[in-house]
């Protein structure tokens, strides 16, 4: 079980490290907004988090695609 937890942590922090950091950042921004923005912020905080995470997913996968393409072209050389 500990090995599984360790593998998951390694996967999260190393394999998908940038995604995990991005997600934690999005959560922190949303938390800060909810705690400083007053009543209005509470009504939109979920939508803000959703938008941040969607942008993060697309940007992270774009970066992964560019990285894979670079690996492929260097392997062909």
């Amino acid at each position: 079980m500990f090995r599984s937890i360790w593998a998951t942590l390694v996967g999260l922090l190393i394999e998908d490290g940038q995604l995990a950091i991005g997600a934690l950042l999005a959560l922190a921004i949303t938390w800060a907004l909810a705690n400083t923005g007053g009543e209005t912020a509470h009504e939109v905080v979920g939508w803000v988090l959703l938008a941040l995470v969607l942008v993060l997913v697309v940007a992270n996968l774009y970066r992964a695609g560019v990285g894979a393409r670079a690996r492929m072209s260097s392997a062909h050389r």
Partner: protein, 255 residues
Amino acid sequence: MDPITLAIHATPAFVASAVEFVEATTIVLAVGVTRGWRAPLFGTLAAAATLAVIIATVGVAIVTIVPEQLLKGVVGALLLLFGLRWLRKAVLRFAGIVAIHDEELIYQREVAELRAQGLQRKEFDWIGFLVAYKAVLLEGTEVAFIVVAFGAAGGIALTAATVGAIAAGLFVIALGVALKQPLTMVPENWLKFGVGAMLCSFGVFWFSEALGMEWPGDAVSIPLIVLAFLAASWLAIRMLRALLPQGARVEARNV
């Protein structure tokens, strides 16, 4: 709660748990077919008992002791982190950048390893017992996490998540018993894709609720959030296919 409402609430946990049960069933089948059924069945029962103890102590303690808002916040954040990982891998697999998870290949590899270790017919097969125990315990721990995550609201949600997970277990085990071969027909990447989107959606929903947000229509918003994740994933798959039309088949850790 009427059966239809229960079915709707139980579906996310059913789908997510089915993926984990398929992985555990593949290993147990490999052990059973290669080394006989006694030891892997004992291993499976022992793992189920261990899981019951873990859930009864840690799970119940978490749900009853930790304040609801804090629990929703922590569970929401964890769901989002795990869900994003599943979603990312599923998208990369659909785009042909990472190889599809192959249950048949895993099954054959496990069978070869177990055959190589040999079997003493007279003694209890401890290797078979331990391999099955470990597989069921590891995948079962993830099922327990899924149940706690989807049932974080307590009451109906927890009942529905538990029912969904048990139904998934019975369904996959029945399928495995009937077929006695790896469950390759289960569209695992599609399931992981859907589960990834659902975990992320529940993550966003719970975390925002913990911060004081009231979603329009409460849980009715969840399908809309799922749709948003599916749309973004579809966009990402199209983008990756445009970037790498021939695919790449690289290791997940390298992208």
